[in-house]
C-alpha cells in the first residue's frame, strides 16, 4: 500500500481547514481519492483526543486504519513544529536540564508520570521537590 494525506491547519485554534489524500497503490486496485472522506475531519482541531476523533470520523472508510495513522502523524507534526525548537534548546548541563524539565512539568502537571523520564522517581524530576 502507498498513500498520502495533506492537511492545512489554521492558527491560533489549530483548526483543520483543508484535507486531501490518496491511496496510490493497494494490491491490484486502482488509485483511490480520499479527499471526499477526509472532508469529515475539516473543522476538527489538532489537539489531545484528535486521534480518537479522526478514527471515529473515518470509520466507514475501508482504509480508516492507515489513513488515521497518517492523519495522526500530520497532527503530531503540527504540534512538534511548535515544541521542537524549545526541546532542542533545552540546557545540556545536568542541573540546567533538571530545572528545565521540572519547569515544564510544573507548567503542565499532566506530564508528571507520563513517561519514564518524567516519572516521580526519575532524577530529572529532583528539582520538582515532590516530597516538600
Amino acid at each position: 500500500m502507498e498513500a498520502w494525506v495533506q492537511i492545512l491547519v489554521k492558527s491560533p485554534n489549530l483548526e483543520i481547514t483543508q484535507a486531501e489524500g490518496q491511496v496510490r497503490r493497494f494490491r491490484q486496485d486502482d488509485r483511490l481519492d480520499l479527499s471526499w472522506d477526509l472532508q469529515n475531519v475539516i473543522g476538527t482541531r489538532v489537539g489531545p483526543g484528535i486521534k480518537k476523533i479522526i478514527r471515529g470520523l473515518l470509520d466507514d472508510n475501508p482504509f480508516a486504519g492507515p489513513v488515521s495513522i497518517l492523519l495522526d502523524e500530520c497532527c503530531n507534526g503540527v504540534i512538534m513544529s511548535f515544541t521542537k525548537d524549545i526541546l532542542v534548546a533545552a540546557p545540556k548541563d545536568r542541573e540546567g536540564e533538571k530545572e528545565f524539565f521540572a519547569s515544564m512539568v510544573r507548567a503542565n502537571p499532566r506530564l508528571l508520570n507520563s513517561c519514564a523520564a518524567l516519572s516521580e522517581d526519575s532524577p530529572l524530576m529532583d528539582a520538582l521537590e515532590l516530597n516538600k
Binding site: G43, T44, T83, K84, A90
Partner: protein, 377 residues
C-alpha cells in the same frame, strides 16, 4: 518553511517456521529510536523485545528501556493497542509505544501477505510559550475555595458539593478505580455526591440504585461523550452513544430530552509549551464552535494545567457561560480534587439537571488545596 520531519520504517522477517522478527525505526527532529521484536507466529505472542535510543529528548530517556520488557507476553489482539498505550506509553515512552504499534500493524499486514501467498510460494518468504506563555485572565471570582474542615462544619445552607466528572473501571478503560473505590473515596473526602461520567457509557439505573442503597450516598449518572469538537459531559440523556458524534447532532438529542451539556477540559493540552506562541486569547478561543453547542464550561479539572483551567474560565466569563468543576478522577485519590457546589437540594439526576439549568451552582476547589494542585490561585 519546513519545520518538522519524521520518518518511520518497519520491516518483518520470517526468522523460522514459527517466529516473526520485526524491526522498527523512528527518526525525527528530536527523537531517534529502534526496536526489535520477536513474536510467535502461531499465537502472535511477543517472545522478546529490545529497544535502543539513537537520539533522545533528555538524558533520562534511557530509563524507558527496561520497561519495554512489560510487553513480553502481550499478544497482538484487539486489546493490545490499549495495553501498549497505557503501560508502555506511560511507564516507558509514548514514542516507543507508537513504534511498537506500527510494528504490530506491519505484522498484521505481513500475515495477510503470508496467507495469500502460502499456497503458491511455500513458507520461506521475507516480508514496518514556552511552558504555556498564553495567559488566561487572573480573574477567579466565580471559583470558590472550600476546605475539608469547612465541609465538616457545614450547615444545610452551604449547598451540595458534587464531583461532576469521575471515571470508573471497567466502564472507562482508562480509569484504574473501581466504582466502589470511587464512592468510598468520595465519602471519605467530604463530598455530598459523585456523578459517574464514564466515556460513552451509560450506567444501568438499577445498578446505580443498588449502589446508592448499599452506600447511602448520592451517586448520579452522567456521560462523557466524544464529539467532533471535543469531549462533552452530558447529563439527562438516556442514550448510549457509541463512536464519534457531531456536536450538532448531540445538541439536538440533548435539547430534546431537556438535558445539559458541559464542555469538558476544553483547552486540555492546548497551552502546552510552544503552542503558546500561537497567541491564542480567550476572545479568539470563544469563537470555537464547541462553545455555541454547550450550556456550561468545565473550568476546574485536575488533569489539565493551571493555565488551561484559567484560560477556560476566561472563555466562560467572556461568553457569559456558567462554570463547573470536576476532578476527572481516574484514580481514587483524585476524587474530589475539584467539584461543583449546588445551591439546591439534589436527590437524583432530575434534580441535578434542574439545578444546572437554573444556573444555581459554582465551581469549587476542594481537595486540590491539599495536593498543591490549586488551579486558580
Amino acid at each position: 518553511m519546513l519545520k518538522f520531519t519524521r520518518n518511520k520504517v518497519t520491516s518483518v522477517l520470517r526468522k523460522s517456521e514459527d517466529i516473526l522478527s520485526v524491526h522498527g525505526v523512528m527518526e525525527d527532529d528530536i527523537y531517534g529510536m529502534e526496536i526489535d521484536i520477536d513474536l510467535v507466529l502461531s499465537n502472535l505472542e511477543i517472545r522478546s523485545i529490545r529497544g535502543i535510543w539513537n537520539r533522545m529528548e533528555n538524558s533520562d530517556c534511557p530509563r524507558a528501556i527496561p520497561y519495554l520488557q512489560e510487553a513480553v507476553g502481550y499478544r497482538i489482539d484487539e486489546d493490545v493497542t490499549q495495553k501498549v498505550q497505557k503501560i508502555i506509553g506511560r511507564l516507558a515512552c509514548r514514542h516507543f509505544a507508537d513504534l511498537i504499534l506500527e510494528c504490530f500493524d506491519a505484522v498484521r499486514d505481513a500475515i495477510v501477505l503470508l496467507q495469500e501467498t502460502a499456497e503458491s510460494q511455500g513458507p520461506n518468504m521475507e516480508i514496518s510559550d514556552y511552558f504555556g506563555v498564553t495567559d488566561g485572565p487572573d480573574r477567579t471570582e466565580p471559583i470558590e475555595f472550600i476546605s475539608i474542615q469547612d465541609r465538616r462544619n457545614r450547615s444545610s445552607s452551604d449547598g451540595v458539593l458534587i464531583d461532576l466528572h469521575v471515571h470508573s473501571h471497567p466502564a472507562s478503560p482508562c480509569s484504574s478505580a473501581s466504582v466502589e473505590q470511587i464512592i468510598e473515596a468520595a465519602m471519605q473526602s467530604g463530598l455530598d455526591g459523585v456523578c459517574l461520567t464514564d466515556h460513552n457509557y451509560l450506567w444501568d439505573p438499577r445498578d446505580i440504585e443498588d449502589l446508592r442503597q448499599k452506600y447511602g450516598f448520592l451517586i448520579l449518572r452522567g456521560n462523557e461523550i466524544t464529539t467532533d469538537q471535543g469531549d462533552i459531559l452530558v447529563l439527562g440523556l438516556e442514550e448510549n452513544i457509541k463512536g464519534i458524534i457531531s456536536l450538532t447532532e448531540l445538541r439536538e438529542k440533548v435539547l430534546k430530552k431537556e438535558g445539559f451539556m458541559i464542555a469538558a477540559h476544553p483547552f486540555r493540552g492546548f497551552l502546552t509549551f510552544g503552542v503558546g506562541y500561537l497567541g491564542l486569547t480567550p476572545k479568539k478561543a470563544s469563537e470555537r464552535q464547541i462553545f455555541r453547542g454547550v450550556d456550561a464550561i468545565e473550568v476546574l479539572n485536575s488533569r489539565v494545567s493551571e493555565k488551561e483551567n484559567k484560560f477556560a474560565a476566561g472563555v466562560g466569563l467572556n461568553l457569559g457561560l456558567p462554570l463547573t468543576g470536576g476532578s476527572d478522577a481516574h484514580k481514587p485519590q483524585e476524587v474530589g480534587l475539584y467539584a461543583t457546589r449546588f445551591l439546591d437540594s439534589i436527590r437524583n439526576e432530575r434534580d441535578l439537571v434542574a439545578c444546572l439549568r437554573k444556573c444555581r451552582f459554582s465551581p469549587v476547589v476542594f481537595r486540590a488545596h491539599l495536593n498543591g494542585n490549586n488551579a486558580s490561585k
